[in-house]
Symmetry: C2
Subunit: 424 residues, 2 copies
């Protein structure tokens, strides 16, 4: 079965929004053993839409079309599909009724423009949208089924999960005999990882892939066929041992996900005191439902006065060592932990750039501390030539990893391959 | 001139990363009056790459190819291009020397696999990459110039800005006679905005577009041709008046950008106390370099104990009214402002969901306050049926807008079209 995706919308093509629907869709398909073979993104021009529907329908078995089902004049997927097939649009009375119900339920009058959302090509089969005003539909053209979905992410996702995926599985059967494991690494470049791993001898049917999504590089271990699948666990463990400290998680896409999973409903509590990471650690954790079960507070003490006033850092320490220093960040962590007697506290203080560096402490110098009931661990890392955004992301990741290692009973401060450290 | 983009990489096609390069590129082109007409995304399969290079080279004048120039075995853009053109890959001695220099400068030995990055098709023209190990190149095939760029975002961006854009402008001349203005709206749906605006009579050559990027909808006012361009300012102002409170900025893509621009180096200071928004407000502001000039602190007082201990909220208030209430959020804002005597403080407390709601205060109930030297403004909004993420984003946006309106000397608490409010 050959699956392609067509993404429509000037705002996607013109780059004003990033196409998260496409990434989500491809990822879901992969998890179900289905490869998306090509993705074409086109704007809101009727002729372009007609051309791409006709062209790709000659190559693919199934085409997921996303976007262009809205009520405004630049939404023209249904019209383009009708023209591509040479048939009229037909108003679906059943959907008009649903629209009226939907607006009534939401206490609003239906804008006239929404009627357009009930018009689909004559030969199309309507596809229900239980959470929005755009009805989906599917149409056969040439070799392909074209399956039309709305651009609004939560409407799109529900339609794909509840209707598109079952349709594909029923029509084309289950697919490949493959399995996948993933290792998350921090602090080592892709080519350096690849050099080391490509020297390993891997069983037949096992291949490696890399994805770089800052500050992590994920190593994907693919297995195809029964014997490779049964070797997958052992090979993954072998890679993890080979790489050592830089492997920071498996099967997770970020360290915040790992930390949330470890602390959620664990009875343990965490406070966070951030300076250069500026709320990044806190907001990454709060993004997970249930983080209130362990997160006491996140204190972004951006100014020195705030470090003194809120965290109880001594003005003398700030004078003697500066805000970006081991003594200051240790006092920040101790102070944040003590406020509510949390089990753990993380603290960061650094120079994220692009300005503010000195010869002694250049941009990219970040002090990080972890306070526990037993004591404080700290380190000062060097991240030269990284953007402000990346300095903040790496610093947050190193902080999470210190806590992760402490929770594992491992050494808290370790070397990562290409993250420099100031000697203590 | 017909411009297309080809994005390569299994990790982009398979959705494990979101293609931010594509969005950035298309946006930059649009700002330079150049439309990207189509974007094709393919994985790391040699045959697919060869096919798409050959096929699209028949339709486009210029094709920007992104990705697949790395050192690992799944990087195969150069090889595919050489095969598509039927010519060998040739090692570029000049680039090998650059690679050795690059690694020496970074104090590392060059991994052997990087040599591959100096191989480009025989007829290709090398394109410099001053910040990375992959050299770019361009090749003519059929109608098109194919321009190959690395996937690493900052290498890609520098190559596009310094080399691709000048190449296109020199080869094809400047383009269209167009202009664009943008209005940012909050709290009103796309179809409802469109219904109201499509009833307005607009001058010839002016068209409207909408982009929805939660929690905002941006209205784009396009002008094509001299008379439309000269009317653009007046039309934009007319739309702003027509829509009232829901227009919250112009020419900005978010309210945090607006607030940062207003407070940066203004001499004014801000503290933030967040509960349900969980560091989102703080980290959105800290993302801008220079935010330390006004941001005193951001206190994420997630637990009640932290509200009491850090912000000085009275335990009695929490008992009497609960954490999500006007009295509590007002005390949070007052407390955050008083700590360092900031000019302003914003505070949020709400139920982001998916759990934690009650009949009286369902999920999506959020109390927001702004404290100034003169007093406190507050409101409690209702955001039913929104995701956790969206509740947090809308709440942060409303908080910013309260501050923006205060800075303008306007009423701080107003109705937005479809954001409900509890009566005071």
């Amino acid at each position: 079965m050959k699956l392609e995706m067509i993404c429509t919308g000037e705002e996607v093509l013109a780059g004003q929004i990033v196409d998260t629907n496409a990434a989500w869709f491809a990822n879901l398909m992969m998890e179900n053993g289905i490869e998306v073979q090509r993705r074409v993104t086109v704007g809101d021009r009727l002729d372009d839409l007609i051309a791409v529907f006709q062209e790709r329908s000659l190559h693919a078995d199934v085409i997921l079309v996303n976007g262009g089902l809205g009520p405004t004049s630049d939404d023209m997927s249904a019209e383009a599909m009708a023209k591509a097939k040479g048939e009229p649009l037909v108003l679906q009375d059943a959907w008009v009724e649903r629209l009226h119900d939907w607006f009534t339920r939401n206490g609003r009058e239906m804008p006239k423009s929404n009627l357009k959302q009930a018009m689909i090509p004559a030969s199309a089969v309507m596809v229900d949208n239980p959470v929005g005003t755009a009805c989906g539909f599917r149409v056969k053209l040439n070799r392909a089924w074209l399956f039309f979905t709305p651009g609004v992410p939560f409407e799109f996702k529900q339609m794909v999960e509840e209707q598109f995926l079952p349709f594909v599985q029923q029509s084309f059967g289950k697919t490949d005999n493959t399995a996948l494991s993933k290792l998350l690494t921090l602090g080592r470049g892709e080519s350096s990882l690849a050099d080391e791993l490509e020297a390993m001898s891997l069983p037949d049917g096992i291949t490696l892939g890399y994805r770089s999504f800052m500050p992590y590089i994920e190593i994907k271990v693919f297995a195809r066929g029964d014997s490779a699948i049964s070797a997958l666990g052992k090979v993954t463990e072998q890679i993890r041992r080979q790489l050592g400290n830089v492997v920071v998680a498996s099967g997770k896409t970020s360290l915040e996900e790992e930390i949330h999973a470890r602390l959620y409903n664990s009875g343990m509590s965490l406070s966070v005191a951030e300076s250069c990471t500026g709320g990044l650690i806190t907001s990454q954790l709060v993004a997970f439902p249930g983080s209130s079960s362990y997160l006491h507070q996140g204190l972004v003490t951006y100014s020195n006065e705030s470090k003194v006033r809120v965290l109880g850092v001594s003005p003398q320490t700030l004078d003697d060592y500066g805000a970006v220093s081991i003594p200051t960040v240790e006092e920040m962590a101790r102070g944040a932990r003590a406020l509510l007697d949390s089990d753990y506290a993380l603290a960061t203080s650094g120079i994220a750039g692009p300005d503010g560096g000195s010869e002694e402490k250049p941009v990219g110098t970040v002090a990080i501390a972890l306070a526990t009931r037993g004591g404080v661990y700290s380190q000062m890392i060097k991240l030269p030539r990284r953007s402000r955004d990346l300095v903040r992301k790496i610093s947050a990741a190193v902080a999470y990893d210190m806590l992760r290692r402490e929770l594992n009973g491992e050494a808290v401060v370790v070397d990562y391959h290409s993250i420099g450290r100031f000697p203590k």
